[in-house]
């Protein structure tokens, strides 16, 4: 049984402008599911729908095999969530925040120093959170999510504002939690981070899931998506010279073929020239996924 199953999720603030369109994805138990997409792709909206902060227009959300609408309270007991910037009271210290969280979650206060050490905030535990850096605030949010030892962690951009050491620490912590049997849904726009940590990946763009699968499936899919574009003087003749089952489509003088290895490309060029065709251009096409990755990387750079 998967920990989370989202089916046909549809959400919009205004009827004409859907934010999420028939979104389907599954988070397997004990996985780290990287929920990847550029800013504004719909990651946070999806997470808010999952957690009941927003009401979906249609679709179903099952967590631990139970319908979220029917069994919200028992499900929330087993979930720890951090949604974007953590909700912190500037006048309170990390210790105060966790004391409050202990009361909300009916957890013994002996857990407080344990989670503070886990996220590396023990030494700053009495300092008011208004004096915390962005990274420290993020760690405190993580501590609040971990306090009641949830089975399922939902973390929306948890490494935002962390320095490289902080990112590495959080990565280690999440991998450790996975080893302990926890399931983690981790949203991020950082492809490199997701690749380092996630066992499963879902890629969202404009409110629709582009890809879902494990790391291996992701690599295969990337390969499948790669294509070549060849511009020649006589495309009809060129199509006859292509290796078997590689033709995809034709647009005037351009033909699109499946990605070929280097030797096959060299052989194809030789065949085209031998057939007295003029070869104007051969280029690799970027797939939707790669395009998306580039956009994501551009986000990071900017």
């Amino acid at each position: 049984m998967p920990t989370l199953e989202v089916q046909d999720l549809h959400f919009s603030y205004q009827r004409q402008h859907p934010i999420l369109t028939d979104l389907n994805f599954t988070v397997p138990t004990q996985s780290i599911y990287g929920f990847l997409g550029r800013n504004g792709a719909g990651k946070s909206t999806t997470i808010r729908n999952i957690l009941g902060l927003l009401q979906p227009n249609r679709g179903s959300i099952q967590i631990f095999g139970e319908d979220m609408k029917q069994a919200k309270r028992p499900i929330f007991r087993r979930i720890g969530a951090l949604i974007e910037a953590p909700s912190l009271y500037p006048n309170l210290s990390a210790q105060d925040h966790l004391r409050i969280a202990c009361r909300y979650q009916a957890v013994d206060e002996t857990r407080i120093p344990i989670v503070l050490k886990q996220v590396g905030l023990f030494d700053a535990r009495t300092k008011p959170s208004r004096h915390y850096s962005t990274g420290m605030k993020q760690r405190l949010g993580l501590a609040m999510a971990l306090l009641h030892e949830p089975d399922f962690l939902i973390l929306d951009e948890p490494i935002n504002g962390l320095d490289p050491q902080g990112i590495s620490d959080v990565r280690e912590l999440l991998l450790d939690l996975q080893q302990q049997g926890k399931t983690i849904l981790l949203s991020s726009h950082l492809l490199s981070e997701i690749e380092k940590i996630a066992s499963h990946v879902g890629i969202i763009k404009d409110g629709t899931l582009l890809f879902e699968g494990d790391q291996k499936a992701l690599q295969n899919w990337k390969q499948e998506q790669q294509q070549l574009e060849i511009s020649v003087s006589n495309p009809e003749r060129a199509k006859e010279l292509l290796p078997a089952n590689t033709f995809v489509q034709q647009d005037r003088q351009r033909i699109i073929v499946q990605q070929l290895d280097e030797k096959a490309v060299a052989q194809l060029v030789r065949d085209l020239v031998k057939a007295e065709l003029e070869v104007y251009e051969i280029k690799r096409l970027t797939s939707d996924l790669e395009q998306l990755f580039m956009e994501i990387n551009q986000d990071i750079v900017s």
């Binding site: 902060l53 009271y89 309170l92 105060d96 009361r103």
Partner: protein, 264 residues
Amino acid sequence: MRQMLPLFRSEIIKLKSSPVWYILMLGMILTATGVFIGHLLDVHNMVRINVDPWERYFRAALAIFNLFIVVPYTVLLVSAVIFVEQRANAWKYLYTLPHSRGKFYFTKWTLVAFLYVLSIFFLLTGVVLSGYWLDILRPEYEFVYHQPQFGYLLQEMGHVFVASLGVISFQYWLSLRFRNILVPLGVGVFGFVFGIIMSVTGQKLALYLPYSLPMIVRDFDMFRNEHIQDSFITGLNNVELHSILMAALFLILGYWQERSRKVE
């Protein structure tokens, strides 16, 4: 109710080093200072032979509190309590905890009511202390030869509290409805001014305006609204009954709104 106790304790922790405590003290200080200065400066008109000075002193304090303090104080208090959550953007955290939204909603309202009651005790203490201090400066009042009538003051404050439930709930709803603190504060200031005008001119409308209710629930020899009637069945007057009805109305309205609110 028992389930709400841990939530209530959490609410108290949240108020640590928050401006709410200053607001609580403010109501007491303004009232005690007002009645103290009035009695200090106008000693010849205030002193009565063979009359309990505490009774007059308390009535003057209540008159100041009811007319000038209680409404702006309530507006400030409710806005400050809700602002604690708004500033932390805490709703997205609270509403993913294993408690219903209603539990948070009613716990917070209970906190406001609790702080209001607490402020009554602060007020009581402040007024009594200022009375003894006044006695040092103006011994002719003879405060030390009489016992303060705490029972009387508590009873009167009880009426004010019941008459304030309407404005508490209205401001509570407003503060949750509009996430910008300026909206409930602005409406509160306008309501206070309008409420005073309706109250001092004895308008019937004052009986239906949440801001006027605490001002007119007791007259304290200042102005009398002829539309106020006591109910022999409930032991409350129509001002208090209106306040309770308004409190129920806005509490339900706020709850309904909060239950279905989108947390962005």
